[in-house]
Amino acid sequence: MRKIKCKTIINAVKYLCAKSNFELPEDVLKSLIQSINLETGVGRDILKEIIANAKIAKKLQYPLCQDTGVANFFVKLGNDVCIEQKSIYYAINKGVSLGYISNYLRKSIVSDPIKRTNTKNNTPANIYIDIVSGNKIEIVFFPKGGGSENASELKMLTPSVGWKGIKEFILDVINNKAENACPPLIIGIGIGGDFASVGLLSKKALLREIGSVNPNKKYFDREQELLNDINKLGIGPMGIGGKVTALAVFIESKPTHISSLPVAVNIQCHSHRKKMIII
């Protein structure tokens, strides 16, 4: 059993909160730079603005976006790890609280969805833990803004509609909501599972690196097909028209019930912040 101090996790999370909100990941930045030549006029100016913003934010260690997000954590916890003193849930939430307060990040969580009182430390975080073999902890921090999350949708389709019906639903969501979600977007799609798991699947899909290849050839082709179709909608940067509506589409699938075809579309803005650390 490898012993890991609670404090080690708290410090790692604190670090992730700051770095990921100040520095746009390389894959996203690269993809944005590549997309400039596809756009003209105001759309092109917007892409340049977004890239310039990323450079300034990194240099000044300043938030890329004022919406520093809901704190999502995807954790792979080795079964040979023993966390001393407190639980991993405590450690992550403590790290978020300290990280958001000490780095002047925005606290965007309200304690009750109807009463809506701000918790003032951006907790509770959403923590998803997978137990894996080994003696390490892998923590992926994925802060997500509210604007793009609000544009996301989940639907229980019937199996008979097949890929054609799935595609129609996804394109409808993009066509109706993308302009409010800060395009160019990254689209995470979950297909299968059940009502509860398909949403999480679509969120996990967003963790893939832009440019990475889906090992399932069928789904790789479907991702390309969707990306082409989405970019033909003409929505463009910030929704004012253009060719660059999405930078990537990622699909994750899982087994489902004989009568079900759940589909979730998790929309992510261009400020696609994510960072991993291994302890």
Binding site: I56, P63, L64, Y104, G147, N180, C182
Partner: protein, 180 residues
């Protein structure tokens, strides 16, 4: 094109949809809950803790906290359509300029036209750039709302795009119609 709020209020018709501008002037950051509070107070006919008639321009924004040594925290636009239900009342009370991101409902568009108001969008997720255009910040009201409190921003040369002009032309609607 550089535009000053005072000049714009005198004649909002000088700008057409799609036009890019550098905006200067006083704006108030008002987003979700603050809209609800203002709306409820105005409807009841009660007093607000500030003079609403001073507000000519609203910026839909919930800034991040200010780091010592800086003027303001990160302060890009938030999605405007969430406050659509309040906007016709706000415009009828005299606000002329709205700044946010994303499309608006048709009834907001009609209200903009009727009141000769104007709606601009800023580029979402460019908070580090936008914060440089804020020269002075003053707290106005609702401290308990955290990032949703109202602040008065003095802005110099904020890059904006005219999304709905005073004639009711909507850049998003026109884009949609062109796509058909």
């Amino acid at each position: 094109m550089k535009i000053n709020l005072q000049d714009l209020i005198l004649n909002t018709e000088i700008l057409k949809f799609g036009q890019k501008i550098l905006f200067s002037g006083i704006v108030y950051t008002i987003r979700d809950i603050a809209h609800r509070k203002i709306f409820d107070t105005l409807i009841r006919g009660d007093e607000l803790p500030f003079d609403f008639s001073n507000i000519m321009a609203i910026y839909y924004c919930g800034p991040s906290p200010t780091k010592p040594g800086n003027v303001v925290g990160a302060c890009g636009p938030t999605t405007s359509s969430r406050v659509d239900v309040f906007t016709p009342t706000i415009l009828d009370k005299g606000v002329k300029v709205l700044i946010g991101k994303g499309n608006r409902s048709d009834y907001v568009l009609e209200s903009i036209k009727r009141n000769k108001a104007i709606y601009f969008i800023a580029t979402g997720g460019t908070a580090a750039i936008i914060s440089k255009t804020v020269k002075r910040v003053e707290f106005v009201a609702f401290n308990d709302l955290g990032p949703e409190a109202i602040y008065k921003f003095e802005i110099k040369d904020m890059p904006l795009i005219t999304a709905i002009d005073s004639f009711g032309n909507n850049i998003f609607k026109i884009r949609r119609n062109n796509a058909k």
